[in-house]
Amino acid sequence: MTKKRYTITFDPKLVDIAEPLKRLEELGMHVESTQPFIGTAVVSGDSDQVERVQAMDAIQGIVETRLFQAM
């Protein structure tokens, strides 16, 4: 299955993202980077894994990562 890169936003009520990160890795997702202060992580995974991530209470949102550019 094709893997894509996603930006995950954690539930802002979470004090610590260690537990959901562990769960993401258990699901087989590759955690590329984490940004604990702003509550995000960049991961890669397939569509099945994304569906499971969507069901996690600790996750507020998951969207495909994008490119940005200077204006």
Partner: protein
């Protein structure tokens, strides 16, 4: 809890769709709006569109052109090497292999279909006529307008600008005008008249880095880091150096020319989140935002835009990040975007500025009107504030030292610098309260809030 993955679907009937239809009408047939629209269209735009592909192979690009937009497509390799290459029929396109660019002769709606289906890895811009330097009559018109705008502004300050005249003797203002010791943007926003310097305020610029050897900036940056793998914070593109200079350049620059920096004593932080080609991965931006806020940045300025996507203009992660920042007493300020071509076409605020928790800044010219390129606010994504963003002089990598640039990229760091001045002027003013102050103290302008938000930011 389930949160759907954003899907990119076009929504018929949206403002964007209406604008695209309107754009089609303007470019294809007799304009239905004003004579000015018609005149501008004739003078500047050919009626064709340039499609810039990114990371597509030739076959992918040609396939996308054919399948998504139904265009008849020829590749430059199909033509004789020395032949002039251009599309000739409505509904056709030529793909220029060596440039990764296509020229499409088609209604905008048809070209736009391509943008939706190609996963936003491309840009679509109207093709312009090119002019040799000095041949464009607008240059003279513009410069005369510029001169009139600055003169009217200074006259107004001298005659009625009670708040400004309290801070700065009229003679000093006259000297500023005569000696050209501040850029027009600093005059317009009353920065040049303010006694605040941004001292004690941490201001982060996340962009293409900065020129570490620039005489006006080399001693100004307290903390810097590159989030672009394998690349130093040194700015090659020049965009980051320009933005940094506007926000926090020295009040008395070492380089030759007028003052261009706003918060000359703010503690500057520079995160390089865009590569030397001016583009970057979202992961780099997120790492930079996290670093800036974790290291205590009071204000973060982003002159960055994501790809235009009318189906999902607001990315939820930036709503959440902006909320976190405000809750922590910080403020993220972002450029509204340069996708409009007024009066032919207006486009909504780009991401991440379109998040309601990130302050979106549009650009105005010396005439106090929204700049032709400045994105427009919609019900989903507002323009919050505006600032000068046309012909803005600021620092540029050596050996050039300075350059004049235009864009909402220039307006956002000016507002970030002004925010630092407000923080210094009112101890304890932070986050949402700072946002409110910037909005309530803005100078009201004739155009409506969808064009320029609350008005032009003004220094305390």
């Amino acid at each position: 809890m389930t949160t759907p993955v954003l899907r990119r679907k076009r929504r018929p009937g949206t403002r964007e769709a209406a604008e695209f239809r309107s754009g089609q009408s303007d470019s294809e047939s007799e304009p239905s709006s004003t004579a000015m629209t018609s005149e501008l269209a004739r003078r500047f735009y050919t009626g064709r569109y340039i499609v810039v592909f990114r990371g597509h192979s030739t076959s992918e690009a040609v396939f996308a052109l054919k399948r998504a937009s139904g265009l008849q497509v020829a590749s430059s390799s199909d033509f004789d090497r020395h032949a002039s290459i251009a599309p000739g029929l409505m509904g056709s396109a030529v793909y220029l292999e060596s440039l990764g660019v296509a020229i499409a002769e088609a209604p905008l709606d048809q070209v736009h279909q391509l943008g939706i289906s190609a996963a936003n890895r491309l840009q679509i811009v109207p093709e312009r006529f090119m002019f040799t330097a000095g041949s464009l009559r607008l240059d003279r018109d513009y410069l005369e307008g510029y001169r009139a705008g600055v003169k009217a502004f200074v006259d107004d300050l001298l005659a009625h600008g009670e708040s400004a005249s309290r801070r700065l003797p009229a003679a000093t203002l006259r000297a500023a005008e005569v000696d050209h010791d501040s850029t027009w943007g600093l005059l317009k926003t009353e920065v040049s008249a303010s006694r605040q310097t941004g001292r004690g305020i941490k201001l982060a610029i996340l962009d293409t880095g900065y020129d570490q050897n620039h005489p006006d900036l080399s001693q100004r940056v307290a903390l810097s880091r590159s989030f672009v793998p394998g690349v130093s914070v040194q700015d090659v593109s020049g965009h980051g150096t320009h933005c940094l200079g506007i926000a926090g350049g020295l009040h008395k620059p070492i380089s030759d020319g007028p003052r261009y920096g706003c918060a000359g004593e703010a503690e500057l932080m520079v995160g390089k989140v865009l590569g030397d080609d001016g583009s970057g991965d979202e992961g780099w931006l997120l790492n930079g935002l996290n670093w800036a806020l974790e290291n205590g940045a009071d204000i973060v300025s982003l002159s960055i835009e994501g790809p235009y996507d009318p189906a999902s203009p607001v990315l939820p992660q930036y709503e959440a990040i902006g909320t976190r920042a405000l809750d922590a007493g910080r403020l993220i300020i972002a450029a509204a975007g340069n996708y409009s071509i007024r009066p032919l076409l207006t486009r909504p605020v780009a991401s991440p500025a379109c998040a309601s928790t990130i302050m979106s800044v549009g650009a105005i010219g010396p005439d106090d009107r929204a700049a032709s390129f400045s994105c427009v606010g919609t019900s989903a994504s507002a323009v919050d504030l505006s600032a000068p963003g046309v012909s803005i002089e600021s620092s540029y990598p050596m050996p050039r030292t300075r350059k004049v640039e235009s864009g909402t990229s220039m307006a956002a760091p000016l507002v970030a610098g002004i925010a630092a001045l407000h923080m210094q002027a009112t101890p304890g003013l932070r986050g949402k309260a700072l946002w409110d102050t910037l909005v309530t103290t803005a100078r009201r302008l004739p155009e409506g809030p969808s064009d320029i938000g609350a008005g032009c930011a003004v220094a305390p």
